[in-house]
């Protein structure tokens, strides 16, 4: 910085004392002030995301690797089982989910950082409820992650998935839902964790297994017993499955391929409807949001 700014700063500007201070008032607490607080937290997350190009790029790397490197690499040995469907097409719905997941995770991570060093502490003394801060954060994470999801969505033609308005809206809706729940999960964890490293440790320990078990990379029928059980318990399964049904609903493939690749999740033989699956993701997200709010309101 220039030295002149420092030196002029030493002496208060001439005449400053003679100016009447502009007095502002802080209004009493109201619903409007909470909505405003939610909006501010949400918007700040967006600004932060836009400013952080490295993060945008970093959270794209993993899904792209899975989709194109793994998808193309394993194509040769898997083609017998995919009934002529490109492996990339098969894993695409799963990739749409994890793209959102990683971004939402990063978004929630910032709460750990902010708590120690940033704006979050500032917000903690503002005349607003902590619940508004948490809700704003979850909405912010969901929005940011969905933006990221849109980038993955643009790749659809490369993996032989058509652009279709209904499909696109459906995917966006599911992504928003998943991103919201994952952010709520992240915020819930962040409330109890003070260090960035431990936060990522926990996330790695939870999110990676969740991803691998979810069926993002394999069909969920005919699994060995232990894996089938884990798969049905994994919440992410219920985000990946409706996503796959949605995408496969817009593909023209043979019935045999459909049966093999998109069997749908079953509970003791009962086909779980996609709407119920999405509802479960939402419910889980709301429960975690409630826990996060409770944690933040009671913590010091």
């Amino acid at each position: 910085m220039s030295t002149t700014t420092e030196t002029t700063a030493m002496a208060p500007p001439a005449g400053a004392l003679t100016v009447e201070p502009v007095r502002v008032t802080v209004p009493k607490h109201s619903v409007a002030s909470e909505l405003r607080a939610i909006r501010i937290v949400w918007r700040r997350d967006l600004i932060r995301f836009v400013n952080d190009r490295v993060r945008i790029a970093a959270s794209l790397v993993q899904p792209l690797l899975f989709l194109f490197v793994m998808g193309s690499g394993l194509q040769a040995i898997s083609s017998a089982g995919t009934h002529g469907v490109d492996l990339k097409t098969f894993i695409y719905p799963g990739i749409l989910c994890i793209a959102v997941m990683f971004t939402a995770m990063f978004s929630a991570a910032s709460i750990v950082w902010d708590r120690e060093f940033g704006f979050l502490r500032e917000m903690m003394v503002a005349p607003v409820r902590r619940s508004s801060i948490v809700i704003g954060k979850c909405l912010g994470g969901a929005t940011v992650a969905s933006t990221q999801g849109v980038i993955m969505l643009l790749l659809a033609p490369l993996v032989h998935v058509p652009y279709d308005p209904v499909l696109i809206l459906g995917i966006l809706g599911l992504q928003l839902l998943l991103a919201f729940s994952i952010t709520a999960f992240g915020v819930m964890v962040a409330a109890r964790i003070k260090q960035m490293q431990s936060f990522f440790g926990v996330m790695q320990m939870v999110v990676m297994p969740m991803f691998f078990i979810s069926g993002a990379l394999f069909p969920v029928a005919g699994l060995p017993g232990w894996l089938a059980v884990l798969n049905r318990l994994d919440p992410l399964t219920y985000a990946v499955d409706p996503m796959r049904r949605l995408v496969f609903g817009h593909l023209s493939i043979s019935p045999a391929a459909r049966a093999a690749l998109d069997p749908g999740v079953t509970w003791f033989g009962w086909h779980v409807p996609a709407l119920l699956e999405a509802g479960m993701v939402l419910l889980l997200g709301l429960v975690m949001l409630a826990v996060a709010i409770w944690e933040f309101s009671t913590s010091e």
Partner: protein, 335 residues
């Protein structure tokens, strides 16, 4: 805040038997004090004395274990929102968004507090001008120097015209010149905006800028006075003399005046009341040549020493040892 009545007796802060215990640590052990409206009140103490914990309780961030406090006439536990609307807080550690510009940081703050939008721009201009950052308002905070960030945080704390401004170590880690400039803002502010300022520091020399200071040590207030009064209570001035034979001089001082002197920084040093009046006697009665003499008024360092029995630096070393031990216990015992 014309709509709200000042506390009748003109007190901005009232604290009664306020205490906070964190599991095994008694951070604040029951403190009592009042701060008058418009006062600059300093909280002085070594690391770990409980200054930040006290501020956090007054700012409603931490619930007291016992006792009560009101800030701007509102109870910090029962009327949390009202307290929050009336205070500004500058944290010990920076809490700015470094990827945002100075103006954007203040704007977020103004919105969070619900300041009427037509007043945001003029108010922002005023506070930024006061801390000398108006010209830099559109550059990212990441490019600011430490002193500029601190000033921006002070400006932010002022955005919503608080009645009481809390500053937790506003000058820590800054060079003496910047520290002085921050102090002149604080003083100017107090006059201009008629607000009460509660601040902590562990620089002894800064305490002299305050109207009154409380000395805190190990969670207790050990002294609370105007800086001048505190210094007067220590009573003695510090005299240092240089002679050709320091040992002989110490002997002569003990024999003729009954004074215990010691060697400090290569000179003979001792304390006497009214040092200026003692010097003539010293020259005529010591019975040996004196090459140089200096008399200094007691500093707050001496004050701290006389109340706590250690210099602030010694106290901090003790504290950090203690802290390390507690940290080890916590790391071993939990999570």
């Amino acid at each position: 805040m014309a709509s709200e009545a000042q506390p009748a007796d003109g007190r901005a802060i009232e604290v009664r038997a306020l205490a906070k215990t964190y599991r095994e640590v008694q951070a604040v052990k029951g403190v009592d004090f009042d701060v008058a409206a418009g006062e600059v009140f300093g909280f002085l103490g070594p690391n770990g004395a409980g200054k930040t914990t006290t501020i956090n309780m007054l700012c409603t961030l931490v619930k007291p274990t016992a006792g009560s406090a009101t800030v701007a006439g509102h109870d910090v536990v029962r009327e949390r929102d009202d307290v929050r609307r009336n205070i500004g807080l500058v944290f010990q550690d920076p809490t700015l968004d470094s990827y945002l510009t100075g103006a954007q940081n203040l704007k977020l703050h103004a919105e969070l507090y619900g300041i009427e939008s037509s007043l945001v721009a003029p108010r922002m201009r005023q506070v930024l001008t006061m801390v000398g950052l108006w010209d830099r308002r559109d550059t990212a905070v990441g490019t600011y120097s430490g002193g500029m960030r601190r000033r921006l945080e002070i400006a932010r704390g002022l955005m919503h015209s608080p009645r009481v401004l809390f500053l937790d170590e506003p000058t820590i880690g800054l060079d003496p010149q910047t520290r002085r400039s921050i102090w002149s803002y604080i003083r100017e502010l107090q006059q201009r905006e008629q607000i009460t300022i509660f601040m902590t520091t562990h620089y002894m020399d800064e305490a002299e800028w305050c109207d009154r200071i409380a000395i805190m040590d190990h969670g207790k207030i050990v002294a609370l006075e105007a800086p001048e009064t505190l210094k007067a209570q220590v009573g003695t001035d510090r005299v240092t003399i240089q002679t050709d034979d320091d040992d002989a001089a110490i002997g002569a001082l003990a024999e003729r005046f009954g004074i215990t002197a010691r060697i400090s920084e290569g000179a003979v040093a001792f304390g006497v009341p009214e040092g200026e009046h003692f010097v003539p006697r010293l020259f005529s009665e010591l019975g040996m040549p004196i090459r140089a003499v200096s008399v200094s008024r007691p500093t707050l360092d001496d004050v701290f020493m006389s109340y706590t029995g250690s210099t602030i630096r010694d106290a901090e070393e003790d504290q950090s040892k203690h802290r390390n031990r507690v940290m080890m216990q916590m790391m071993g015992g939990r999570r």
